[in-house]
């Protein structure tokens, strides 16, 4: 640091006796392999369902939203900043990848990089003013940004195609990220989920990850411990937004039709990340993934099943789930499970 004073206890620290208490159970000694094994198991259905185009499509969506929810969880779950602006980063990613491919012929694989960069930069610009707001005020401000993005996308129609949207023609090929075999999409979005979970794992074993947790728990206490809270929140947001933009890019190439209502709809995108994560368990590694595994297939099933009888009825059922989760499992499925284990041990 910039002071030249010798730090206390550095010069003549007495040799420490062997500690009487075993120094285990710290985060550094927690094994990683169960997480990796879990990821492998979650990818197994790709192989099992590869011949069923309907279910493999739902599987691809499930992985995509698992990855997106896990991305949102980085800033909302670890950092405690309940952002509803993630639809913006999702849309930015989708438009960037699609436009670079359509207008400049840039392969979507390469297009993902500028998409992530743009998502991160925009998130930093949004965060700078909004992170001065705390709690629900932050959530409301970011929710408004979703609407702003939708208006912009409609307005700049020479770029985004406006309300008509963009259509990506079907030209199959690895370089175009367009596949005839549907299971390849599932593999792609599955890999995206794996990437986000691994980023989360690395984060929770790093200084930045602990700083995010500290800011979530108590911003004043964190700052008193020397943590630059604003910078930590912005960094967390940028990582979260970059991954969300990546998911948006994959979404664009998977559905090949993107328009403002699809990308910036609050209930299908912006709030969906939050819903999946809340039901699964916020601030945990596996919560968002499990939330997506439970809800996305159910939602797709309900949407098809209820479409004749009660169009939009799946929202009622999902809302009910949300209320039940909020009432009985404040920390989601994963939180309820962890509490159960602790009670068993005690």
């Amino acid at each position: 640091m910039d002071t030249a004073i010798p730090r206390a206890g550095e010069a003549d620290a007495p040799a420490r006796q062997t500690p009487t208490i075993q120094r285990t159970g710290g985060p550094a000694s927690r094994p990683v392999w169960p997480h990796l094994l879990g990821l492998l198991v979650l990818l197994l259905p790709i192989y099992l369902l590869r011949g069923n185009p309907f279910w493999i499509g739902i599987l691809a969506f499930t992985y995509l939203f698992a990855g997106l929810a896990a991305s949102w969880n980085i800033i909302a779950g670890f950092g405690g900043q309940f952002s509803l602006a993630h639809g913006v980063f999702f849309g930015v990613g989708a438009y960037t990848v699609a436009l670079l491919y359509l207008r400049a012929g840039i392969s979507p694989w390469l297009g993902l990089l500028p998409a992530m960069l743009l998502g991160a930069v925009i998130s930093a610009l949004i965060s700078w003013p909004t992170f001065r707001l705390r709690g629900p005020f932050f959530a409301i401000a970011t929710m408004a940004l979703n609407e702003v993005a939708a208006v912009f996308a409609n307005y700049f129609d020479h770029l985004t195609g406006g309300p008509r949207g963009l259509l990506i023609p079907f030209r199959a090929g690895l370089a175009n990220m367009i596949f005839v075999e549907r299971w390849k999409y599932a593999l792609l979005t599955g890999m995206f989920m794996v990437l986000v979970v691994i980023v989360s794992l690395v984060l929770l074993r790093s200084r930045l990850g602990y700083y995010l947790l500290a800011v979530r728990e108590d911003e004043d206490a964190a700052r008193a411990a020397g943590i630059p809270a604003l910078r930590v929140k912005i960094l967390g947001m940028m990582i979260s937004a970059a991954l969300t933009a990546m998911g948006g890019g994959l979404f664009a190439m998977f559905v090949r039709v993107i328009d403002p209502p699809t990308l910036f709809s609050l209930q299908d995108v912006g709030v969906k990340f939050a819903l999946l994560t809340l039901i699964g368990g916020m601030g945990t590694i596996w919560g968002p993934v499990l939330g997506a595994m439970l809800i996305v297939p159910l939602e797709n099933f309900l949407r098809t099943w209820l479409s004749d009888v009660l169009p939009g009825g799946h929202y009622i059922v999902l809302g009910l789930f949300m209320i039940l989760a909020a009432r009985f499992m404040k920390r989601g499925v994963v939180g309820a499970y962890l509490t159960l284990i602790r009670r068993r041990r005690a």
Partner: protein, 237 residues
């Protein structure tokens, strides 16, 4: 080490801290006492950067730090605890200290080793894996001190770390503060319990209605008539 010059804080019509000046030398244990509402906590928040003074300046190790943010002061070696303990409830005791240790150790394994050492030191080693939300008040206060020590401060500001503790716990806390001081950390603390103040603090600063009314040796300050009047009211004769 710490020089406070003519510091004043006004809230609307109220002057919470009025023209307070004093200096703290390296290695001292200095207590700030005063009746409720005397401005002790406001003064503390001015020193830690949680509040900015209306007038006046704070120097730390010769460096003017008046406009510095709390985190920047912490990085310079000023640790603090809060009057209402602020443990990171969802994290384990170990992780609470880890958060402080990361300031000087970037790698998780190193920071964790340092955190274990400090937990051992404050007597919470057996609570390492317990969430902070399940600790007792006394343990939470120790945890706060542990987290502050983990940032390797030269100066530590303790805001009523003994309030609400039973006599045994107070004794433990006094021992801990002494041990912190023996590590070479200068201690500035707010304390209500005059017996505690007498037992370890050679120097006492008294605030009353925002003003510094006494600063000196504990025995003489605590016998001072102005101080007694501030605490007990004027003697009627």
């Amino acid at each position: 080490m710490l020089e406070i010059a003519g510091i004043t804080k006004k809230f609307a019509g109220l002057t919470a801290v009025n023209q307070v000046s004093f200096a703290v030398d390296a290695g001292e244990i200095v207590s700030i006492i005063g009746p409720n509402g005397a401005g002790k906590s406001t003064l503390f928040n001015l020193l830690t950067g949680n509040l900015q003074p209306t007038i006046g300046s704070v120097r730390y190790c010769g460096k003017p730090i008046t406009g510095y943010s709390p985190e920047r002061r912490a990085r310079l070696g000023m640790g603090r605890t809060f009057q209402i303990a602020k443990p990171l409830l969802a994290l384990s005791a170990l992780e609470n200290v880890l958060v402080g240790a990361f300031l000087h150790q970037r790698r998780l394994a190193d920071a964790e080793a340092a955190a274990f050492d400090i937990l051992d030191d404050v007597g919470l080693a057996d609570r390492a894996a317990i969430p902070a939300s399940e600790l007792t008040l006394s343990e939470r206060r120790r945890l706060e001190i542990a987290r502050a020590i983990a940032t390797r401060p030269n100066l530590i500001l303790l805001d009523e770390v003994m309030a609400g503790l039973n006599p045994t716990e107070v004794h433990l806390a006094v021992e801990l503060v002494r041990r912190v001081n023996q590590r070479g950390i200068t201690v500035l603390l707010i304390e209500h319990n005059l017996k505690v103040v007498r037992s370890f603090s050679r120097r006492v600063i008294v605030l009353d209605r925002g003003k510094l009314i006494a600063d000196g040796q504990a025995e003489s300050v605590l016998a001072d008539t102005a101080v007694i009047e501030a605490y007990l009211g004027a003697r009627r004769s």
